[in-house]
Symmetry: C2
Subunit: 363 residues, 2 copies
């Protein structure tokens, strides 16, 4: 165990087992970062494709040489492949990138890998798409995305640090959660949305093509992930069945609430407002709060062309505006242009506009 | 009625009543196409914003001069504003851009505008976003989007042609449907998706912020339109209440089917496959079939670096590949690279690759 001296910790070289979209993307990201990568897959065409794309080498590494094994196979094969990797690569930290963490951990405890489990730490990069296979891989798949690390009770510090380094090397932001906690969270933010998208898209099979021509971006966005691989998602949902089922039951309760008294306008509007509030509770794409912009309210003078003047003045400052809206103060009978800017630009914008003679709303 | 001589037909100048996102976008598109546009809105700040953005003039036109009136106000005000426009602008074709067509038509028949209804033809541009107000407008909002024209029984050819010209001038693709037919279609492809997105997003209000950090692009896409204006959508749903309610009931049946025997893997996978089939039935973004690409299968020789060689050969042809996948023939034990290309490029790609020594799968 001297090998687990912190001084000697390294994730290089790494072996990726399973060269689908996620495995190949990790190979591309690690290779780009200078980490030597070996690739393995039960399908020779997939390994060859991943190698051709530059995700690593299809050659066989020396077992003792490998320091990190990333298991990126379908959910039903995860535990078996992790156990095999722990046995075959005695110096390596082993992680998997499966979408459900409790099931694989439970299955691992039932294998004879128990004594080696201190070298295992699960993880889950929250990235991907409705596509699959090595040709859907991208080196920047994980940049600025959340990568959940799920240490179990007997995971060594060494193993956890290695998996964190993997996530960091791929450009991801790390969140640490226990396996059960993780599974409950992804039932809410990933597995339920997948089934709802499939539910909605499934109804389109009964819609005449003439009607489908009317589809706009809203329908396209809501059904995009319904194009995902049914076999893969069946395995994911099965591995997290209980949590997903209870989410679906809550969804049914909400749906029944909406349907009972559907003609009550107040109720319908409350339902729509609740949806908007939920949507707005999502953090921004870089993990910041969605509403984290600074707001400035610029008074619109009561004269022709005033608003055009404000637009021109903002443009002159060279500061990028994230959003704009018009507001009206009924008491003072004065209009405001509300602009949203990055917080670190708000003071500069305010000063420049005041200097140019515009007035701001008093807070 | 001599004015309705085909020779004299023109949509110029146009008046837009309601300078929200859609009205202002139409103003921008018409102005860009050289049509003089007048703007009206009950909110002076909205008119001023639309004018400042270049969507037209806030000046008052001479009533007899206006040849097209576009009513783009909230659903509850549509019939009243259309009737008023028919009376105020005696030489104009009047259209509205509301999301539901039967309700406004029924209401119009109940007004004293009956005798003038031959100058009215409804329409519905299938574009927009979760945003609202003039500042969310874009001149290219309707380019390549479907614009439904809904002539009623007594609409004159002149009126229908004017509305078609409006849609064409804005860059849209025209589809013609009766009002009731339209409403049934949008219940399926627009109103149901809106409520499903709100349903899913509404559940997020009970999800802890720590879990929301795990949200990926799938949840963002499925809930985007839930950020829409609740008051506006309440009016839209109310105007199409019966059709939407029956869609929601079918959705509930599908959901119950899924929940009953949720642990049946075969059933779950069939449900997911049905969703994928529905999604794939959507036409491509330019109205072509989603799967309209030509497919070529290039044999992957059983030698090191073969796939990289094919990638390089494709790159050399300069032909753009839309999608790629790996396939494997179990009987012949040979792999294929399946590539999707625009139909008019398929023959050229095939010839160039054959000339370079690659083999194709026999059909």
């Amino acid at each position: 165990m001297g090998i687990f001296d912190t001084e000697q910790r390294t994730i290089s070289p790494a072996l990726i087992i399973g060269t689908g979209m996620i495995g190949t993307s990790i190979g591309l990201a690690l290779t780009k970062a200078g980490v030597p990568v070996y690739l393995r897959d039960s399908d020779p065409a997939h390994v060859e494709a991943a190698e051709a794309l530059g995700a690593g080498s299809a050659a066989l590494p020396l077992a003792e040489e490998v320091h990190l094994v990333v298991v990126a196979v379908p959910p039903e094969k995860l535990a078996e492949q992790v156990a095999e990797a722990l046995s075959a690569y005695p110096e390596a930290t082993v992680t998997d990138v499966g979408s459900v963490k409790s099931t694989v951990l439970k299955q691992l405890h039932e294998t004879d890998a128990e004594a080696e489990l201190y070298r295992y730490c699960g993880s889950h990069p929250m990235a991907g798409s409705e596509k699959s296979g090595p040709l859907a891989a991208k080196a920047d798949m994980f940049v600025d995305r959340t990568w959940v690390v799920t240490p179990h009770d007997s995971a060594s510090a060494h193993a956890v640090l290695d998996v964190r380094e993997l996530a960091q090397t791929c450009g991801a932001r790390i969140t640490t959660l226990g396996a059960a906690h993780h599974d409950e969270a992804v039932a809410q933010v990933s597995h339920l949305p997948q089934l709802v998208s499939s539910l909605l898209a499934g109804m389109l099979t009964d819609v005449p093509p003439e009607h489908l021509k009317l589809a706009g971006q809203g329908l396209r966005d809501t059904t995009r992930i319904a194009d995902s691989n049914p076999g893969l998602w069946r395995q994911i949902i099965e591995a997290n069945s209980e949590a997903v089922h209870s989410q679906l039951e809550i969804l049914r309760d909400h749906l029944n609430w909406l349907l009972d008294g559907f003609n009550d306008g107040t109720k319908l509007e409350a339902f729509l407002a609740e949806g908007r509030a939920g949507r707005q509770s999502l953090p921004g794409k870089h993990g910041t709060a969605a509403q984290a912009f600074a707001q400035l309210a610029i008074e619109i003078p009561d004269e022709v062309g005033a608003l055009a003047g404000i637009f021109a003045a903002i443009k002159d400052t060279g500061i990028n505006i994230e959003d704009v809206a018009i507001d009206h103060d009924q008491n003072r009978d004065v209009g405001y242009l509300e602009v949203a800017v990055a917080p670190d630009k708000a003071d500069a914008l305010k000063e420049l506009l005041l200097a140019a003679g515009w007035r701001m709303k008093e807070e």
